[in-house]
Amino acid sequence: MTNLDTETNLDRADTRVRHDQGIAGAVRAFFDRVRSGDLGMLPVIVGLIVITLVFATLNPVFLLPNNLVNLLFDAAAVGLISLGVVCVLLLGEIDLSIGSMSGLASAITGVIWVNVGLPLPLAIAGAVAAGVLTGLVYGTLLNRFGMPSFVSTLSGLLALLGLQLYILGPTGSINLPFSSSLVRFGQVMVMPAWMSYLLALVPGLLIIASGLRTMRRRVHANLTPGSRSVLYLRAGLLTVALLGAAFYLNQGRGVPYMFGLFVLFVVAMDYALTRTQWGRSMFAVGGNREAARRSGIDVRRIRLSAFVLCSSFAALGGVFSAARLASSSQQAGAGDVNLNAIAAAVIGGTSLFGGRGSAWSALLGVLVIQAISNGLTLLNLSSSLRYMITGAVLAIAVIVDSLARQSRASHGRA
């Protein structure tokens, strides 16, 4: 990319700054960023590759297409819950009751749909409404009474679990009909091959289209447009990777609709977080609450929206997991769901300290978590070992987050 402008661009007036151009420049900027502690998605991608290599050597079944399809089916529910966790983590808050919330949502779905006999959409709506309500309660507790989310959601964990056991009644378990669309959605429904390939092309095309449009507008506004080759390279690599993944999965059963829907939610959330005023406000409140307040941002409303989103996604994740397990039981949402969802968000690169993160961390993080759990199951390891290893991975992720934060601070990056 050469600029033939005789006058300097608006953003190139300061001669003290090195401006990286082209592919080599992009690579150099990337290494600069990583060295200063701005790791982004790097740890999780490295982690994913290491995990894949380890499990593939220990048990070749791990890499078989059908196992990966199973992995994606499993990942969707926890992934959705994790997507909600990203929202509260961005504010530097936490929700510890997501597991119970998902369990309650699964119970509500079972009770309304199977026991009461109302239509399925109504049952799902009821479950999500319970999530919205729970989020409103947490947000209000924080806004009105200054109750730390750590405490309010910890008490919520117990209260929601109690409610789940209460509405399930003495039998404690509701089986969902196998022939129903919900269970088929959670267990067997996959996209036709042509559809998966078509969808694999969309992100690359969107990147190029929006990238070129931005470039034109930047040139028009006398700003440096950025490198076209970098844009094509990024879009190309992404398209090749997606097509390859789609091809490989289609050797097995194919790409699950449930996972596709999850990715759709991630994309929507990413847009909301990076391209809307609401998303900007989320980052601002997470970065410096007082500054956000003085800029006229309604901090209370932002907090409320984050908690509502978190609990709603947890509820929807509960519906997904009910579909996956074909039952609503007392065990739903118990055990390691809570930890897995939070761990996925943190492993994916969303900071526990607020103000840093991305919707994509839910997707990448949940893939890591599910790969570990799936791989350990294939090795016939008991859940005791699985818990210990997942716990260790979460600890490592938080350590990486803390170290990167210190490094960023010493390199003058937030």
Binding site: R275, T276, R280, A291
Partner: protein
Amino acid sequence: MDQTSESRPERGELILRLRDVSKQFGAVTALSDIELDIHAGEVVALVGDNGAGKSTLVKVLAGVHAPTSGSIEFMGKPVNLSGPGTALELGIATVFQDLALCENLDVVANLFLGHEVGPWALDEVAMEVRAWRLLKELAARIPSVREPVASLSGGQRQTVAIARSLLLDPKIIMLDEPTAALGVAQTAEVLNLIERVRDRGHGVILISHNMEDVRAVADRIVVLRLGRNNGEFTPASSHQDLVAAITGASENSVSRRAARKAQPAEV
């Protein structure tokens, strides 16, 4: 600053009028019966010793603290500055001493925080262009508007904070110690900037401990002492009168020091 307000007040028109404004923090009276008038196109310097209540008054006007009693009239109408949002909407912009920037966001995001272009589809290009224009107008030296604010120096952050306050074309801009952290050239730039803002018909409230800066740009100097009005001066008033009003006596540590310095010369 290329955004024109639909109702710019006439020069000299009374914009802000405070009567008997008091603020108590528990047993402590930070402000008591403060009176203050701000007109369009004038720079009013607010001076006083530490603990005189300057910052508290700024926070009351910015909507950060609610006054305990008293009335605030804005453009002739009594207003209730219930929150920072209300103050901003009315057209009272503030640059706080602790600049209140989000370190994790870049310069553009900080400038437009809470007032982004395109709430549902942020127009990054338009915002970046406007950011560069604004910074250029202030002759600011910011290396890149796409760097997080954490990587900027103190003076650069001050510039970003001032630029942000001007973004909405406010009627009154309050600057709390704007030159405290700045170098010589940047201080001059900020003073130039204050005059430019005044010439555009904004009211400016300047808070500073630096009498040189105050005399350089202020049209009126309002002295606060221990949370009360303690006189009003013009830049032409003598230094002694001003210091006496600030410290509360003609016989004070500053005058004693001056006298001591003067004595050897006479002998």
